[in-house]
């Protein structure tokens, strides 16, 4: 059974050209787009890299989780592990300060191989957990993630144990040092836009539609002749590819990688980011990541500003997460949409009221 074999009216609709697609975007699209492109002129290098670029990298990992959870109904906690694995591979295959382990491959070999192997690893995890559903998937992926964490923590021959790798530098090519603030910002921006666009495209492509079908009613999809398991494993592959790319960016951003990157905390943080932002749309994870990074960076000052212990930021994050999960299953995106709908309904009602009051025809 071919995976992309869905003959829906989606095909029949004439494909719109890129300019018309651009023209149909709303104001928010243009504002955010211009803001992101012009950000280097507006923001200091701290904001540019530490806040925005870092948010985009975390957003990419969370995006891969969002793709699985939002379109496939699979809540996988291994996405951060896949990213960390890719990061480790870049450090092991490429250059790092731990020269007795690193193989010193050139970056254009190390990075693609890292992405490829990490994607394979994510696919394997998917194949292992895909036969289970819902909470079972969460449990199994959590167990796999922590197994990887302990492996990196205890293995010194390949993963260099507790201390991990440092001195991992972003490459220099086209005579640009991509580790500089400005190039690195644009690199992450380009990757984010590409990944976002691909996710949006895949979600509407036959494969994405079939995946959403398996999410909503796997038995019906199986009865229609779709191979549900194959679709889910393919979804894992695609999501793991995004996560792996994010992992390469992450190790270039941090210049080091250690078991802490793959620990249970960060793994759960990814779920928090994706859920807080909203699992229904690909933009959600990026919003969640931005909020998460802002909270992490500034909660100390904020908490001390209102007279509380600055170390309690985990508490703030936990409480915020709990409130959002309790009151808005769709995350911040859901709140935003509900507010907009209420406003629209309100203005519609006002318009209607005015028409009635004015005795219009």
């Amino acid at each position: 059974m071919a995976i992309a074999d869905l003959n829906l009216e989606q095909r029949a609709r004439p494909r719109e050209s890129f300019p018309t697609w651009l023209a149909r975007r709303g104001t928010a699209f243009w504002v955010v787009g211009v803001l992101l492109l012009a950000m280097p002129a507006l923001a200091s290098s701290f904001w540019l890299v530490q806040i925005i670029a870092y948010s985009m990298i975390l957003g990419l990992v969370a995006l891969s989780l969002m793709f699985l959870a939002g379109y496939g109904g699979i809540v996988s906690l291994v996405q951060m592990t896949v990213a960390a694995f890719a990061g480790y591979l870049v450090a092991i295959l490429g250059d790092s300060a731990i020269s007795q382990i690193s193989l010193h491959w050139p970056w254009w070999m190390a990075a693609p191989v890292a992405i490829l192997v990490a994607t394979l690893f994510g696919t394997l995890c998917g194949a292992l957990s895909v036969r289970t559903e819902g909470i079972y998937t969460i449990m199994i992926t959590l167990a796999i993630a922590s197994a990887f964490y302990y492996l990196t923590l205890q293995n010194y021959t390949v993963f260099n144990g507790f201390s991990g790798f440092n001195g991992v530098k972003p490459p220099v090519f086209l005579s640009i040092d991509w580790g500089q603030n400005l190039p690195f910002y644009y690199l992450t921006l380009a990757c984010s836009i590409l990944a976002y666009g691909t996710v949006v495209y895949v979600a509407r492509a036959p494969f994405g539609l079939a995946l959403q079908g398996t999410r909503d009613n796997p038995r019906r999809m199986a009865a229609l002749g779709f191979d549900v398991v194959a679709h889910r494993i393919a979804a894992y592959s695609f999501a793991s590819f995004i996560a792996a790319c994010a992992g390469v960016l992450l190790v270039w951003y941090q210049r080091q990688i250690s078991p802490g990157t793959a620990g249970v905390g960060p793994v759960v943080d990814m779920l928090i980011i994706a859920v807080v932002g909203g699992l229904s749309r690909p933009i959600g994870p990026f919003i969640g990541a931005l909020i998460y990074v802002l909270l992490r960076t500034f909660s100390l000052d904020m908490l001390e500003g209102v007279g509380l212990d600055g170390k309690r930021y985990q508490l703030v994050i936990g409480l915020g997460f709990l409130v959002i999960v309790l009151f808005s299953p769709d995350g911040l995106i859901g709140i935003w949409q509900r507010l907009r709908e209420r406003y629209r309904r309100g203005s519609d009602a006002r318009d209607a009221g005015m028409r009635v009051g004015g005795g219009a025809p």
Partner: protein, 336 residues
Amino acid sequence: MSDFIARRPVWSLVIIFAVGILVWLVFSVWTPGLEAVLGRKRVFLSALFNGITLGALYFLVASGFTLIFGLMRNVNLAHGSLYLFGGYLGYSVGNLTGSWLLALLAAFIVVGVVGVLMQVLLFRWMEGQDLRQTLVTIGLSIIFADLLLWNYGGDTFQVTAPDWLSGPVQLPFVVALRGNGEAVMMIYPFVRIAILIGAIIVGVLMWLALNRTRVGMLVRAGVDDRDMLSATGVRVQLVFVMIFAFGAGLAGLAGVIGGTFQSLQPGEDTKILLSSLVVVIVGGMGSIPGAAIGALIVGLAEQFGSVYMPTYAVMLTFIIMVAVLAVRPQGLAARR
């Protein structure tokens, strides 16, 4: 039992064979050749006993975890936090009153009450929404972890065992032979043996309560078909609250016990949670015998792993989990 042998003759043979080898290893006096391969018998025996007693602790935690899951389809990812909370609470009460039993009781009751609050205030409002419940428990575990860190700091605590529990006992197992042919017997901490006996008693009582009483009947019916049970007019919510209280209380109890022969510190919550996750995945979700089998396997794997292959000890448990998932995705003792 005979049913199992009839259905799976090959596996039964393998299990009987393995148990036979184990019994022989435990009771025989090791020859120098065997010691050269397996190391000293003392090390082997203490790994075996530590594994079994660690399994007893895991059983206490995981049986509450799996009971809550079996009935309410609620993966309580805050279960490790309940364990840690119970442990810290037991430490405080033990320090205050000087009584270990009182600490045990206090942890069981207070953590049980916390469980009731969680069930009544949160989970009742999102019945049937698995994912949302799971997310809520993740949020709770983060909050609990930080509150406990706030209150108790990052230090390591140990609950002091009472006098009648402390000290070593001599077990009737020959560890080695002295030069003059006199046998050296195994000496083992009494606390761990008491915990093993306690866990077995709890397990048997739980099995009896589930299989021989009316409440147990209701619980089993609820595990199989919740809607049908509530349709027959049983106050399902009450059963839910009771089970949640009992499961959470067991986690608190286990916290005090774990604090007595291991230690308590931040991060212990995730460790215990992961162990119970693996235990119930290996044993089969929602099954008490499964929790017992899984706990034994995981405990033994951890201890033998740390003795014979220290670098990959934790990996060994996960490899077992993966192997079980590949062969029998529903777990070893699940009925499905």
